[in-house]
């Protein structure tokens, strides 16, 4: 069981009440990122990351110097004009910043590729729909098989790097949405298993201390053991050829969106092609 990562709003009182936890703090205003990080650290907790979830484009955000010592997940709706961010690139590259873009717009998918090509770590927000599967397939293929040097485009590179034959990969952690690891708290300390559920006030625990005994909670087990959720019921994901690299990540409101199975199956094929490069010469000794 991995140690829990608590995704919290920027609330010093809440931080103080937790004490010695691993915390990811979510802010809307980019200028609040450093202050939020400092508050987490000063409260005796350990900082994992700061999520900056803003409506501004990358073009509109000034990347402050004080982001240098923190890991920032920058959730933005669009990149903006490339020529306007040109001067920020060096700074972004030298900081621990990953740029997250939604993929419901072809322009964003192109932006992910552009940013990756100039050395910026990016992630496509493919958990949320609607999905443009065809452009995403192209992006995924570029991300994993593209020979030109580029920064990782997640979740594709994460899947490619972590998939082993016979195994499976859960990549929702990239979005802080893996319920085995990430717990989303509101200001009152109530706990949800995803950001979406937090917004809808669909809480699984009323108190953060319940996280320590989470395995005793049948609902939690149901939510975190994919076999219980998908294999004990007649769920279509259990029969999906791409299950091993998806594990139901696309499921919204209980059902998989149209086209996700074909996408996941293709992702698995590409990952296997990539992993095929690895080989394991039998005679290597040292």
């Amino acid at each position: 069981m991995s140690s829990p990562n608590l995704v919290c709003p920027h609330n010093r009182k809440l931080f103080d009440s937790l004490g010695r936890q691993l915390i990811t703090v979510r802010v809307k205003d980019p200028e609040q990122a450093f202050v939020a990080a400092r508050n987490v650290r000063e409260s005796g907790n350990r900082l994992f990351s700061v999520i900056v979830d803003t409506d501004h484009s990358l073009e509109e955000i000034d990347i402050p110097d004080d982001w240098g010592g923190i890991s920032v997940a920058l959730f933005i709706p669009r990149m903006g004009r490339f020529r306007s961010i040109r001067r920020k690139l060096e700074r972004i590259r030298r900081m621990k910043i990953r740029v997250y873009l939604p993929c419901d717009d072809p322009e964003n998918i192109t932006s992910l590729q552009v940013l990756s090509s100039v050395g910026v770590s990016v992630a496509s927000r493919i958990i949320q729909g609607p999905h443009l599967w065809e452009p995403l397939l192209d992006l995924m293929t570029f991300a994993i098989l593209g020979p030109a040097p580029h920064s990782p485009i997640d979740p594709f590179v994460f899947v490619a790097d972590n998939f082993e034959t016979g195994g499976s990969v859960d990549w929702r952690g990239i979005y802080f949405e893996d319920p085995k690891e990430f717990f989303h708290l509101d200001d009152k300390g109530r706990v949800a298993l995803s950001h979406h559920e937090l917004i809808n006030e669909d809480f699984i625990f009323d108190d953060p201390s319940d996280i320590d005994i989470r395995e005793e909670n049948p609902e939690y087990r149901l939510r975190t053991d994919p076999r219980e959720r998908f294999f004990l019921t007649d769920h279509p994901c259990s029969r999906c050829p791409g299950w091993r690299v998806c594990m139901g990540a696309f499921v919204q409101n209980g059902a998989p969106p149209e086209g996700c199975s074909e996408f996941a199956a293709e992702l698995l094929e590409v990952v296997e092609q990539y992993r095929g490069m690895r080989g394991a010469p039998m005679e290597k000794r040292s």
Partner: protein, 703 residues
């Protein structure tokens, strides 16, 4: 190996719709008494003492064997310890269970018995496998999941056997994906449902239906066989037909009379599990029959005689005889009322191979030894084609006869990994420095060409004419290396006539490092560490979650971290990724641009030595005393496995590309992140004022 299908009980908490055992009329004891359990181990011991080379596999079966509770297994273990003191090392245990009764209470005794994997069954189709009179599959499935979860939490594994019934035929691929997604490593064995004397039409399938079921799956499996490596019967058939390595199960080996036996709950010895379930081929009672006597019993002789009868009769013209031997005699009995006929399921194998396997794989099976078989060991019988055990490749001839006489034109056959190539390059440089007239030629192996290009000891890199003098570099076959008395470098040096011990200096003729434009782009910090988690074999690699923890620690402490390696090696989160973009010489020089290296026992350990950069090296299955360089910090994790079975040493080739079978007990998991970090700090302090050797890149880019 002798296999006993051991049915200590016929009681079962399940009521699977196709099971013959739960419908069997109870005629004797339902559970094997403890007295007979003890006698069993007495019998096994006397059997093994009389056969010093033999091994004995006990497969716990039922009924449901877990219904006996952990104490029963504990007693079995005690009896084994008491009565098989000298033979227990040749006894192994496996188990087949429905897993609905498994609990953590079984873990300890399973581990004592050496059980690491449980074979089980599952069916997503409702009311096929279930509990109670109503065959409640919902309750069964929940208990099943609970059982396998407990099993996995204990670090034990499980594999799936799926019984194909009429209900399965509708959507073979849906079932295939479900089962392979459900099992931890995607291993599934498909068996047709078997019946004896009863043929419930709603469940039974014909051989042709089973073929077409398998055929639909095979079309998908063949192009993805790396993804689902152990799907049976495909895996065995492909090994046998495509790879030419016979891998036959009991019913098709033609040798089951001499390899299998079973024991039922009332002490009755029989041929196998199915013969026991069907009350056929009784071989006597354990109470008054030794296992040796059981193997000599008339029922066994009938099965041996069957081989010649079927071979000359039904199967006389069949090209698949070598891989079928008339099929399972129990199938023949169930279908025709006689063992002396071929199995009706032979159509399954023949049609499957001819209509699916051969056209899809493009490989046609050609019988090998049917007519040229050696004289039978039993009069009147044709022996089964012997299965070929794994044999490691013969050690290469290190020095051909012409080598001693030859002065020039000796070809070197470089074998091993890139680290070995750097050592060899260093040895050759020492050789040519000692005697500038002494030159060699190198057999071109593409992965090594860039290491040796421009080497002053080489006059040619290419391909020798037949009969050329060749020297191979498999130092690991040298007795002094194998006994641990000589280091790899010294063995190589001795091979090339250098007086040992010799100074261990590596050499790379190509002294161009990574492109400065690339180095300029790396976001270096004041202190920078190169990490090299990959080692060519997962057995030498520290688990990746530990590497991630280490990288987090390094970054938190203000270090810059860069990770070179092959494109397909795994990226460690947080490290600056240089995988796949450096040539071998560039990668070899990269340590010269960082302050220290943390590496598995691999190429970058040698590269760090080449560049004179301090290194912390993480060891496990291999020994730092044989490879590691002086001045480096060597952290040796002690092996958790049997030291008598060196996991990746000479002659252990097939283990090299596979993960450590010890799972969570893999020795590389014993490394301690704090210790690695402390060693790093220590070695940085110790070496900060030491000058680099002359052949190391002396300048670093301005930061």
């Amino acid at each position: 190996m002798t296999t006993m299908i051991f049915k200590p009980t016929e009681a079962c908490n399940g009521n699977c719709i196709y099971c013959d055992v739960v419908r069997k009329e109870v005629t004797g004891d339902n559970t094997l008494s403890l007295e007979r359990l003890e006698l069993l181990f007495v019998r096994i011991n006397e059997f093994l003492e009389a056969r010093p080379q033999e091994r004995f596999q006990l497969i716990w079966h039922g009924g449901e064997p877990l219904i006996l509770g952990p104490d029963y297994y504990e007693k079995a273990y005690r009896f084994q310890e008491t009565h098989c003191a000298d033979t227990k090392g040749r006894i192994s245990h496996e188990i087949q269970s429905n897993m609905t009764l498994f609990s953590p209470k079984f873990v300890e005794i399973f581990k004592k018995l050496g059980i690491t994997k449980v074979s089980t069954s599952y069916d997503p189709i409702p009311n096929i496998r279930g509990l109670g009179k109503t065959i409640d599959s919902e309750a069964y499935n929940k208990n099943f999941l609970k059982g396998i979860r407990a099993l996995e939490e204990a670090g034990l594994n499980w594999a799936m056997i799926y019984v194909v019934t009429r209900f399965s035929l509708e959507k073979p691929l849906d079932l295939f994906y479900f089962l392979t997604n459900f099992t931890p490593d995607g291993s599934v064995m498909f068996n047709p449902v078997y019946f004896f004397e009863r043929q419930p039409m709603d469940l039974a399938i014909t051989p042709d239906e089973f073929v077409d079921f398998l055929g639909e799956i095979f079309k998908v499996w063949w192009p993805h066989r790396d993804r689902y490596p152990t799907i049976q019967p495909f895996y065995s058939l492909v090994r046998t037909i495509v790879e030419g390595q016979p891998s036959l199960i009991c019913g098709e080996s033609g040798a089951c009379a001499d390899t299998h036996i079973s024991l039922g709950p009332s002490g009755t010895l029989s041929q196998c599990g199915r013969s026991s379930d069907w009350n056929l081929i009784k071989l006597g009672s354990l109470d008054d029959t030794t296992l040796e006597e059981a193997f000599a019993a008339e029922g066994k002789q009938t099965l041996r005689d069957r081989q010649s009868v079927v071979c000359e009769g039904d199967c006389a013209v069949c090209r698949f005889w070598d891989i079928c031997h008339g099929g399972c005699p129990l199938d023949a009995m169930a279908d025709t009322g006689s063992f002396m006929n071929k199995s009706p399921l032979c159509v399954v194998k023949r049609r499957f191979i001819e209509e699916y396997l051969e056209p899809i794989t493009g490989v046609r099976y050609e019988p090998g030894e049917k007519k040229e078989a050696a004289a039978p060991s039993h009069p009147g019988t044709r022996p089964p084609r012997p299965m070929r055990p794994y044999m490691p490749p013969p050690p290469p001839e290190r020095i051909t006869p012409g080598f001693r006489a030859a002065v020039d034109d000796v070809w070197i056959n470089p074998i091993g990994g890139l680290g070995d190539a750097l050592m060899l390059s260093g040895v050759l440089k020492a050789a040519v420095d000692q005697d500038p007239k002494r030159t060699f030629k190198l057999i071109a192996r593409s992965q090594f060409v860039s290491v040796f290009s421009g080497h002053p000891a080489l006059t040619e890199i290419g391909h020798p004419e037949p009969g050329s003098a060749v020297i191979a570099t498999a130092y690991w076959d040298d007795p002094d290396f194998r006994s641990g008395q000589m280091r790899a470098f010294q063995v190589l040096a001795r091979l090339f006539g250098l007086p040992t011990p010799v100074e261990e200096r590596l050499y790379l003729a190509d002294n161009r490092g990574p492109d400065p434009a690339l180095i300029d782009r790396i976001p270096l910090r004041d202190k920078n560490i190169l990490i090299a988690p990959s080692a060519g074999t997962p057995r030498k690699e520290m688990p990746y979650d530990m590497w991630e923890e280490l990288v987090r620690r390094l970054i938190d402490e203000g270090f810059g971290v860069i990770q070179p390696g092959t494109a397909a090696s795994r990226h460690i989160r947080g490290a600056y990724n240089l995988r796949g973009i450096l040539s071998v010489p560039e990668a070899a020089r990269l340590p010269g641009h960082v302050d220290a290296v943390i590496t598995s026992a691999s190429f970058f350990m040698h590269a760090a030595h080449l560049c004179g950069t301090p290194a912390v090296v993480l060891w496990g299955p291999t020994d730092h005393r044989q490879y590691g360089y002086e001045g480096q910090a060597h952290l040796q994790a002690h092996r958790t496995c049997d030291p008598e079975t060196p996991c990746i040493r000479s002659g252990r080739g097939p283990g090299y590309g596979t993960p450590c079978p010890m799972g969570p007990d893999h020795c590389m998991r014993r490394h301690d992140i704090n210790a690695i970090f402390s060693s790093l700090i220590e070695i940085l302090e110790k070496t900060k004022n030491i000058r680099r050797p002359a052949n190391a890149p002396g300048s670093r880019p301005a930061r």
